[in-house]
């Protein structure tokens, strides 16, 4: 096995371990009462995990293909549509 393949495997195992650690932090944080910051902390950890997956496991970091960038941007664009238009309902409900 080449040195490159070994270091590459170590790197991905490292990313995988980081995800497991962050999952543990999520579980730990769930038992700590942070008041209004409970969802903020949970979402922050989830965002870090998602970023690691997108950048490294999905090979977005270092990708030179324009199509990869287009898919990534489209994904976030449609997520923004989902959140903003759903919030257009939640934030304007008279009966809230």
């Amino acid at each position: 096995m080449s040195e490159h393949a070994t270091s590459s495997r170590k790197f991905y195992v490292g990313i995988g371990m980081s995800l497991l650690v962050l999952t543990s932090v999520t579980v730990f944080a769930a038992f700590v009462n942070l008041g209004p910051f409970n969802p903020v902390v949970a979402l922050l950890i989830a965002t870090i995990k998602a970023t690691l997956v997108v950048l490294f496991f999905m090979h977005v970091k270092g990708a030179s293909e324009k199509l990869t960038a287009a898919v990534l941007v489209s994904g976030f664009f449609f997520l923004a549509i989902l959140l903003s238009l759903a919030l257009a309902d939640y934030l304007t409900r008279a009966w809230r």
Partner: protein
Amino acid sequence: MASAAIPANQTPKTNYLTNGYGLKSWLLTTDHKRIAVLYLISVTVFFFLGGFFAMLIRLELLTPQGDLMQADSYNKVFTMHGMIMVFFFLIPVVPAVLGNFLVPIMIGAKDLAFPRINLLSWYLYIIAGTLFLHCMLIGGVDTGWTFYTPYSTVGSNTNVVEAGLAVFIAGFSSIFTGLNFIVTIHRMRAPGLTWDRLPLFIWANYATSIIMVLGTPVVAITIVLVAVERLFHLGIFDPKLGGDPLLFQHLFWFYSHPAVYIMILPSMGVVSELITCFSRKRIFGYKFIALSSVAIAVLGFLVWAHHMFVAGISLYAAMIFSFLTFFIGVPSAIKVFNWTATLYRGSISYATPMLYAFGFIGLFTIGGLTGLFLATLGIDVHVTDTYFVVAHFHYVMVGGVLMGYLGGMHFWWPKISGRMYPEGWAKLSALLVFVGFNLTFFPQFILGYVGMPRRYWQYPDEFQVLNVLSTAGSSVLAVGYLLPMIYFLWSLRYGPIAEANPWNAAGLEWQTTSPPPTFNFDETPVVTWEAYNYDEIAPKELEAPVGR
């Protein structure tokens, strides 16, 4: 009719159908055309199963009393009908059958970009379908195809989780197909086949793939959340647990409204191919039709809450979604106007595929325009959850999608099977489908307008005449759908051998043999012409298509 002989001038050689005969050669194939045939068989089975449930619904509604079944059974029957038709027929049918077969050939490629993922997509579909059949056999599910909470999480005592899992897996089958199409269309076009020379069927499947890839994960995770709440009582949608049932509807419809465009866009692509071929004209407004597909794919994501106008969303949000919904009518109308403009001064022939294309334009227009009724807040409040809505979406999904699919199946059947179908029977079938469809669903517009709610197994006596008409129509429709299955099967053995290009049509798929060889072309084609260059193709009598 005698079995036709292979013509002397067509060299007998191996094609994709004769390249291997055993079951293994089919179940382990990575040939996109064989996978398309596998999908064709699978979706046909589910179509007739869904149709069986539709007939049960219509039989129950023949009389005002609940005499064939009781409310609980009726709930399960319409749920089974909806889930099978939406997730196991309408969503995969055109992309997975016609798209799988045609996308690589139409762009001059040997196969899709990821042939093994393509086969995996079919296996996922089969796993999902088997799971759903199991769910059906052990008692079914009664939530309606929409899985609405809190009924699906705390109310229903049927097999919600298993049905949800089946839909979840079917969703990944759909994602894989979309992913494959996007990469294939970007990376594997023949030399010279620029974006503005692509057939409109390719544009339509490309736009569809965007929705499949971006929308399907949302509904998949939403169904997981339903299962999590149902199994572990985590408060996500149930108000008693701090959840919000409208959150489910937002997430569900974010995918499921665009899913309507997953269904209709590929059929629109089919219709573009048919209209040009049987008018012998270049398509009118090529770029507008091509980009309107993409516009529909994007705008389709901005309108979902029109399904929720009376569910309790804010008036402000309702007004925004009503406004945005009107926009989706624009690209749809662009297509219809351009198709009719293509017909103008065309040399029109009335072969069966064209009859279906005409049917599509008429029925989709009615379905689309009644969609604008429902986008209007005041009217929507009046007709929500009535048969008006049922009629509207059947005009789009059945009148539109199925007309396009059947038109496409007749058009490309010679290419898929190497045989011609019997034109007389096919025209009769197209007529029966059109008449049967309108007789089934037009009365439902009136029923809904006068107040008959959907999803009830019995109704007041004054609604009976229109319901009898609708049930009678469904019988005619069923015959119209059974006929093609019979004569397509018949033609496999007895149909005349098809030429490479029996319609004298433009497009790369007609430049290879019928059926095509395993790798589609002996040499990679080089494209030097615009799409639909019918003014450069010698005219030919199309009224009675013949094999050789």
